[in-house]
Amino acid sequence: MPGNRRNKISIQSKYVLLFLTILCIGMMILSFATDIASGPLNLVAGYVIVPVQKGIGKAGEWLRNRSDDMKTMTELAEENKQLKDEVTKLQLSVNELQSDKYELSELRQLFKLNEQYSDYPVIGARVISKDAGNWFSTFVIDKGSRDGIEPDMNVMAGSGLVGIVTEVGPVWATVQAIIDDQANLSGMVMSTSDHLIVSGDLELMKDGYIRFSQLVDSEDKVVQGDQIVTSTISDKYLPNITVGYITEIRHDSNNLTKSGFLTPVVDFKHLSTVLVVLEKKQVREEAHEKNSD
């Protein structure tokens, strides 16, 4: 009987839905508690999806380079002139800094503080795809555990902090940007060493800002334009990596702390290559402990 058969099918798909729902909830619980669940899936997906994404990424980059070539001569001449001016200015400041540097290295030796972020081992990686939805700012890079990348490693671009590695496959890794709505990090005002919390916010992303809060600054020393770096007390971020500059600062209603916006130094809209720091904060500290023993 046809009616009977239809009935049978509808019961079947109800059971399938129930089964899939339980499976999904099970996976959620499992991945919340451990990280076993995603292991084999990561492998399969990584080998199927990532090579294609890499190809498309390369093609896109080629197109962008071609369009850059189209810049007119006048534009280039103008830019050249500007750059020359800038070079002379920079030359002056380099000289100045050079002399400071000698002094600094002497003092560092005195204090045995030879730690600096130029000596972190880094690896370059290409951004091959970005979040599938419009809610979060995560992206995938084309290097993974085979290149020594592990979760919680810091990611930089140019001179600023981009984010942190959250998941790793054999040939790819997912990075959560600091502008992501779920990202939080402990920062520090460079000039006064006051600590604050930097947290990404989707509402501010369009304007290119990130929020900061919990800044204790009773002497009103922190002003607009101050540099924010990652804090020395952060447990995942390496210290003294530039995050951005304060663009707006105001008192909280409790009159004890301040909060506001900062502009990150990294241009997140046009991110194509990043540097992954191949050293984790904990590992670095353990190594130091060993050295001091």
């Binding site: 079947q12 839905l17 996976m27 991945s31 995603s38 997912t174």
Partner: protein, 161 residues
């Protein structure tokens, strides 16, 4: 078997397009949700079971690459595929209005699920902001993409039958 393989290929293609090419041509940082279009149209054309199958695969891909916990998007897409499958009895290949309506509705529901579970529960209460800047643009852009993509999926489906 051939059908399953082709469906998997379509899902992978949609996922890759959404995360790479469409990111480059996004309007105001918003990309259309191709995976919803795929899930929804297979649900309408082929019924609940296939809607769930396609939805589950789409969701699990998003989960693996971008989800903070595995299974959240998979569940959302599976349910959307199932609900779209219920409307199979009303489906005629010549009629574009029903699929268009269902895909838009699915996209809206998907956005609300994302907002409620991933944002509102973390205390992000400015619903007005999110609806104007994220949800509405995404729905509009997805509808535009549907106009192009749906015919292709319909064509492939008819070839397979």
């Amino acid at each position: 078997m051939k059908r399953i393989l082709i469906e998997i290929l379509i899902i992978i293609a949609a996922f890759i397009l959404q995360t790479t090419v469409f990111r480059l041509i996004s309007l105001g940082g918003i990309v259309p949700n191709l995976l919803i279009i795929v899930t929804s149209s297979f649900g309408i054309m082929r019924g609940r079971n296939e809607g769930m199958f396609v939805g589950f695969l789409c969701g699990i891909l998003v989960d693996i690459f971008f989800g903070s916990i595995l299974g959240f998007y998979a569940l959302a897409y599976t349910v959307i595929g199932y609900v779209n499958g219920i409307f199979k009895t009303m489906f005629y290949p010549e009629d574009v209005k029903l699929p268009m309506f269902l895909i838009s509705a699915s996209e809206a529901v998907y956005c609300f699920i994302c907002y409620i579970f991933l944002f509102m529960l973390r205390g992000r209460m400015h619903f007005g902001y999110y609806i104007v800047h994220i949800i509405l643009p995404e729905i509009v852009y997805t509808i535009v993409a549907t106009i192009v993509l749906y015919r292709g999926i319909l064509f492939v489906n008819e070839k397979l039958e």
